[in-house]
């Protein structure tokens, strides 16, 4: 059962945070689709954890982005959210754009994040294998590229989560992708590589071998810059990896969390 709360941040800003499940807390930072009512990744995490999933600025209201001008403001925003939730040394799991955000937060504020899982992370640029332009398609057709089968899984396209009016649906998609574009345009490199060595979190990086957006080689690029990072590549999987191959992803994730929590 997914509930939500609005937390108040310094300066009168707010953030919507979804909550599900019981147990030790994990923070889920979503990808370009936001958080959906029947989101299967949130549901699976919630079987053993309390999941706290803040909605990225700009997803609920476009004006939330007005004072979040760059990636440093974005990291500060999440630091405020984690502070409001009372979280230090947190376990943070991010996917795609959310994984880039998770890495930025862990690099800007190393003490905030003790365990970090990056799934298909954006945020780096390799000259040898550049990230293709995810925005060079009409944004209403972006699912055709992101999802292996050309359309989201049923839970992520639940009509209950989406405006029924086609124009309002277009507005919602445009608004979400604008929020992502603000921090990755024209290409997803805001200098994260220089900051990654600041991180102190135990880190696991997972990617799909056939990801059409973030090539699998980026796992190595992240791992090389993060002290002690573990990395895994899952065969025959794309960018929406945790939705496409949940069993494989959660096996790795559970192993990692069990081991690192015990060690702590």
């Amino acid at each position: 059962m997914l509930t939500s709360q609005v937390v108040t941040l310094p300066g009168g800003r707010t953030s919507k945070v979804f909550r599900a499940g019981q147990g030790p807390i994990v923070v889920w930072l979503h990808g370009p689709h936001g958080v959906r009512g029947r989101d299967p990744v949130v549901a699976e995490l919630a079987r053993r954890h309390t999941v706290l999933a803040p909605l990225a600025p700009g997803f609920a209201e476009a004006t939330e982005l007005d004072d979040v001008r760059d990636v440093h403001d974005l990291a500060l925003h999440y630091d405020d959210v984690l502070e409001a939730l009372g979280l230090d040394g947190a376990t943070v799991i991010g996917h795609s754009f959310g994984a880039m955000v998770a890495a930025e937060v862990a690099a800007h504020f190393p003490r905030r994040v003790a365990r970090l899982v990056l799934i298909s992370p954006l945020g780096l640029w390799r000259e040898e294998e550049p990230v293709p332009d995810m925005f060079a398609v009409p944004y209403m057709t972006i699912d055709k590229l992101l999802w292996k089968d050309g359309a989201p899984c049923a839970e992520m396209a639940d009509p209950a989560d989406e405006p029924s009016d086609p124009i309002e649906k277009q507005v919602a998609v445009a608004q979400a992708l604008t929020a992502v574009a603000k921090f990755v345009w024209p290409l997803p490199d805001r200098g994260l590589r220089r900051r990654l060595p600041r991180m102190t979190a135990d880190t696991l990086i997972i990617a799909g071998a056939d990801d059409p957006f973030v090539p699998a080689s980026y796992v190595g690029a992240f791992a090389a810059a993060i002290r002690g990072a573990r990395a895994a590549i899952i065969p025959t999987a794309g960018h929406m990896l945790p939705y496409e191959k949940p069993a494989e992803v959660f096996r790795l994730l559970d192993e990692f969390l069990d081991a690192t929590v015990k060690a702590a």
């Binding site: 001008r69 925005f135 124009i167 507005v171 445009a174 992708l177 604008t178 603000k182 345009w185």
Partner: protein, 413 residues
């Protein structure tokens, strides 16, 4: 009514099978493969000759604009073209439509270059400030579509303030910070040249133009019937904000082809028209509308949707002359046909500034001169009286008595 001769300056040597061979005329069409600079030398000089010729037959303004990385329009810097024209013309106003302000850091560069053009031309500049297309701004120049419009607005406000203030000041903006704003030269036109905003149909632009007394120009390629809802939206905004309903505060773009008969018009202009719509407009749909480029209010109005729909239609369908005539995209035929249609346009959309495309696609130089001559001689005089009861406050007034510049003479033997 005023008549302006607008050049898009397309590349006229796109191959026959262009649509099958390349995915887009804009952004990623390989320059080194498609553009031939030796041919380009002739093309630029022919195009400038045509603009100068338009002055000689009596057009009020000659127009240039800015686009990047494409075969649709070869003017990444319209100011260079306007500078060349400033030296070789003396009567026509130079309508630079215009500089995409958000692409210049700092935007004060635009204030400087436009003031240079105004001084050089003796006060003949019209200063246009477009946002720029999604292709030009977000994809070619890497501008962030999420902040593009806000940055653009701030830049225009800075330029106007610099022109109005004429004393050094500090500017602490969200996108530009300058300790000393004090651009030299200052324009001849005081406080500044008329400001024209070419809009693609973004609804916030209407209100902004009215409040700041900028001219709103709707540059549509689909004819005045298709453009009417957008122009109507502008007039409704003028009325709502208590502005004066004056045709000269709006502009519209129209393709024309003058001949002795419809059949002659088709013979002369069908090829260049089909070239334009089928090759110059062959744009990969993803480049039109990056996320954030169209505001939420504009999406709700359903305006951007029409443009995208049209471009998608063009990708799959081949546009033929008869469609262009039937839909009013191009007005062609005998002078009386064209006068009738332009009168109908004046009645329906009440726009005082008409920008004519007498050149389009790969039209031959001689045909361009013929079309231009016929329009000026047989059409323009019959429409001149339209809207003469209104004062045009969006047009340069105080041009100096310009001595036509000539090379310093070398004494004859």
């Amino acid at each position: 009514m005023k008549f302006h001769w607008f050049h898009l300056m397309p590349y006229p040597y796109l191959p026959e099978n262009f649509k099958e061979r390349y995915r887009s005329v804009w952004v990623d069409l390989p320059a080194g493969e498609v553009y031939d600079p030796v041919k380009g030398h002739q093309v630029y000089n022919d195009y400038l000759d045509q603009l100068e010729y338009a002055e000689s037959v009596g057009f009020d303004g000659i127009c240039v604009n800015e686009h990047h990385q494409n075969g649709y329009g070869l003017m990444p810097s319209p100011n260079l073209m306007a500078a060349a024209l400033a030296r070789r013309t003396s009567k026509a106003k130079l309508v630079v439509l215009g500089n995409s302000v958000a692409l210049y850091d700092p935007p004060i560069r635009v204030a400087e270059e436009m003031a240079m053009l105004d001084v050089l031309s003796g006060g003949r500049l019209v200063a246009g400030f477009p946002v720029g297309t999604g292709m030009d701004t977000a994809f070619c120049y890497g501008a962030n579509p999420a902040t593009l419009r806000e940055k653009y607005r701030e830049g225009v406000e800075l330029i106007v303030r610099a022109w109005k203030t004429r004393q050094p000041f500090a500017f602490n903006g969200k996108y530009t910070q300058l300790r000393y704003v004090n651009p030299w030269p200052v324009p001849i036109q005081s406080p500044h040249p008329p400001i024209w905003i070419p809009g693609g149909g973004s609804i916030e632009t209407w209100e902004w133009c009215v409040k700041n007394d900028f001219l709103y120009a709707y540059l549509s390629y689909w004819g005045y019937m298709s453009g009417k809802p957008v122009i109507d939206g502008f007039w409704e905004t003028v009325e709502r904000l208590g502005g004066e309903i004056n045709p000269y505060r709006a502009g519209f773009l129209q393709f024309v082809g003058v001949a002795d008969s419809d059949a002659e018009a088709e013979r002369l202009y069908a090829g260049p028209a089909e070239y334009f719509y089928n090759r110059c407009f062959h744009i990969a749909p993803g480049y039109y509308n990056p996320p954030g480029y169209a505001s939420v209010a504009t999406i709700r109005k359903g305006i951007t949707g029409q443009v995208v729909k049209a471009s998608q239609h063009l990708r799959t369908a081949s546009v033929r002359w008869q469609h262009l005539i039937d839909d009013g995209c191009i007005i062609a035929g005998s002078p009386s046909t064209i006068v009738d249609r332009l009168n109908d346009m004046a009645d329906r959309i009440k726009v005082g500034h008409v920008m004519l495309l007498c050149h389009f696609g790969n039209m031959a130089h001689e045909t361009v001169l013929y079309n231009t001559t016929r329009f000026a001689r047989d059409v323009m005089p019959k429409l001149r009286h339209r809207f003469s009861e209104h004062e045009d406050r969006w047009w340069p007034k105080t041009a100096l008595d310009v001595q036509k510049p000539a090379p310093i003479g070398v004494a004859a033997e």
